[in-house]
């Protein structure tokens, strides 16, 4: 069974540009999560989808970030315009159901560098 996949693995952009990250969850997983790790800091929650609906987006830093999950399958996270402080590793995770008893499976992450 394929795990969570993320694309691209690494993106280098200039400040002010737009970047779109993609996450393909494990097939059949309705719950999808985005997390971010800024260098030297802990992994932080960004938001949670159940199918195509946003359940919790309390971790989204500001309105430059837009997450979508059309059709309840893959998800995209767009940063527009990117700022220097957006650099970090963006992880996507998925789980079969919601709640702490259901393991969140993480993807390998997208390393974003904003110059």
């Amino acid at each position: 069974e394929a795990g969570v996949t993320q694309f691209p693995s690494h993106s280098v952009i200039e400040k002010g540009q737009t970047v779109t990250l993609r996450c393909d969850p494990i097939s059949g997983h309705d719950n999808l999560y985005w997390y971010r790790r800024v260098m030297g800091k802990e992994i932080k929650f960004l938001l949670h989808f159940v199918k195509e609906s946003k359940q919790d987006e309390s971790g989204m830093p500001n309105n430059r970030f837009l997450a979508e999950r059309t059709g309840g399958t893959y998800s995209t996270l767009k940063v527009q315009p990117a700022e220097l402080e957006d650099s970090g590793v963006y992880f996507c995770a998925s789980s079969q159901a919601g709640g702490p008893r259901y393991e969140q499976f993480f993807g390998p992450g997208t390393r974003l560098t904003v110059l």
Binding site: K41, E42, D56, P100, E103
Partner: protein, 111 residues
């Protein structure tokens, strides 16, 4: 104050040693506690999770939660070079899906 605190290390031990990794937390509402292992350039993978206080054992790994002191531990017995990775503790309250992570401890097991 961070909700979950973890010493970043690095921690270097000889092969075969018993490793103790620890976290403290401040939120009394946390009920589920997880340990993730992350190899370089990979995503975190779940090692163990524990509900409330107590111990849980899985092979060479033992997770321990002491809610009275808000202390989480992971013990690795007979450590192997393949255990070299970053170990992340995480906690979550019942009814939410928002994992709160520690910064991770880098472990190096020397052959």
């Amino acid at each position: 104050q961070k909700e979950v605190e973890q010493d970043p290390g690095p921690l270097s031990v000889p092969e075969g040693a018993i490793v103790s990794l620890n976290c403290t937390y401040s939120n009394s509402a946390f009920q589920y506690f997880m340990w993730y292992r992350q190899y370089s350039r990979k995503g975190p993978e779940l090692l163990m999770y524990t509900y409330s206080s107590g111990n849980k054992e899985d092979g060479r790994f033992t997770a321990q939660v002491d809610k009275s002191s808000k202390y989480i531990s992971l013990f690795i017995r007979d450590s192997q070079p393949s255990d070299s990775a970053t170990y992340l503790c995480a906690a979550v309250t019942s009814g939410t899906y928002k994992y709160i992570f520690g910064t991770g401890t880098r472990l190096k097991v020397l052959a």
